[in-house]
């Protein structure tokens, strides 16, 4: 990229329809290219790449890490929800696409491992939630014509401390989207509300009913399976093989020798 385009700018431009902005997302079925403005125009409030708030009060959090059973589809969104002062019940979790913005800030790549997900993502996600919260408070204060300090947030609502009324984040989302994105949002201090409480893992229901898609479950058209005939001893090398009779086995399309293991220089 020749110059840095902020997400906000990116969204504004694409939403304004001044040209077609294309985004590339990695799906299990290959690269999907879509016009960002088109696919996301129904979501008015997307303060950063990590979350969006829809008018129906549903908050979607994007997770840039792979859920391998350690619970990060739950714990990373909890960090966002905590700073945002959202109600856990209104949080939905989605897998982030492969994009520069979703790179791990420590590694500079989009990977998962080494018990690093919380450590590496904590601050980024705190700021993401806090920025959204600030924008929602600003929006509410402007609507009510009161000071921001007279507003309080909890459970996905902004409360007007002058008259006790409150508005949901969903209702405020459209107006909040017009606020300036704070670059250094103020993080919460003191007692947490959500973090530290037991929360059911969001990845579990799909793993119980069989609908969870593992790498091995991805099927593409014309896909074939490869299998390795392993030697009987470590370090053994193939001397010869019978290609003709191997190809006679039903379903076998191709037989090829490999001179070494799958990976020559790892482990």
């Amino acid at each position: 990229m020749s110059r840095t385009v902020t997400r906000r700018e990116f969204l504004k431009k694409s939403l304004a329809g001044t040209g077609l902005t294309l985004a590339v997302a990695m799906t299990p079925f290959g690269h999907k290219i879509f016009a960002l403005g088109e696919s996301e125009k129904d979501i008015p409030f997307k303060p950063n790449v990590w979350l969006q708030i829809a008018p129906d009060n549903m908050i979607t959090v994007y997770v840039n890490k792979s859920e391998m059973g350690q619970g990060i589809y739950t714990s990373l969104p909890m960090i966002v929800a905590e700073e945002l002062d959202a109600d856990w019940k209104q949080i939905r979790v989605k897998s982030a696409p492969a994009r520069d913005e979703y790179k791990d800030p420590v590694w500079g790549s989009q990977g998962t491992g080494g018990s690093t997900s919380i450590r590496h993502m904590h601050e980024t996600l705190q700021k993401a939630g806090a920025a959204a919260r600030e924008m929602l408070v600003k929006a509410a204060a402007q609507m009510w014509k009161i000071e921001e300090s007279d507003c309080e947030t909890s459970s996905g609502k902004v409360r007007n401390n002058k008259n006790g009324r409150s508005l949901t984040y969903g209702v405020l989302s459209q107006k909040a989207a017009q606020m300036k994105v704070p670059q250094q949002p103020k993080l919460k201090s003191g007692q947490t509300k959500l973090i530290g409480t037991p929360v059911k893992r969001v990845d579990i229901p799909a793993k119980v009913n069989g609908s969870a898609v593992f790498g091995f479950d991805v099927q593409v058209q014309g896909m074939l399976y490869g299998t390795v005939e392993r030697p009987s001893a470590y370090g053994a090398k193939a001397i010869s093989y019978d290609e003709k009779s191997s190809l006679k086995i039903p379903g076998v399309r191709y037989v090829a020798p490999i001179s070494r293991g799958i990976c020559n220089d790892c482990y």
């Binding site: 893992r201 990845d203 579990i204 009913n209 069989g210 091995f216 099927q219 039903p250």
Partner: protein
Amino acid sequence: MIKLTVNEKEYKVDVGPDVPLLWVIREYLKLTGTKYGCGLGLCGSCTVHIGGKAQRSCQIPVIEAVEKKITTIEGIPEDHPVKRAWNKEQVPQCGYCQPGQIMEAAALLAEKKNPTEEEIINHMSGNICRCGTYPRIRLAIKTAAEKGGKQ
């Protein structure tokens, strides 16, 4: 053409008689909840019910399953005591072996309403979990047994 009844639905598949049932379930019926683990009947991740009995589908030639009632993880109702207990006790970690574990546990409870700890351990011993969720599997089976008994 081979006719199969899976999860109370009839299917016709154009495969050879000796193709493993697991292959047919995953590749032809696209029911990918049932997992391929070892392909040798040693790990239990491919467990389905054939005529109500827990079987390793990687070891069953499809022809042997014809005219039998086959149930996969997708065919177990969402409110089944075992599925509910698995959610309640938060059993899965990575989750890969869990469809097989659930099918095995459901078969056990269909036979024995209140199995003892020893019976649970014996019955489940052929289902391997690399994450080591065994304590929660045992707990969930006990939870499901209680719930099932109450109903």
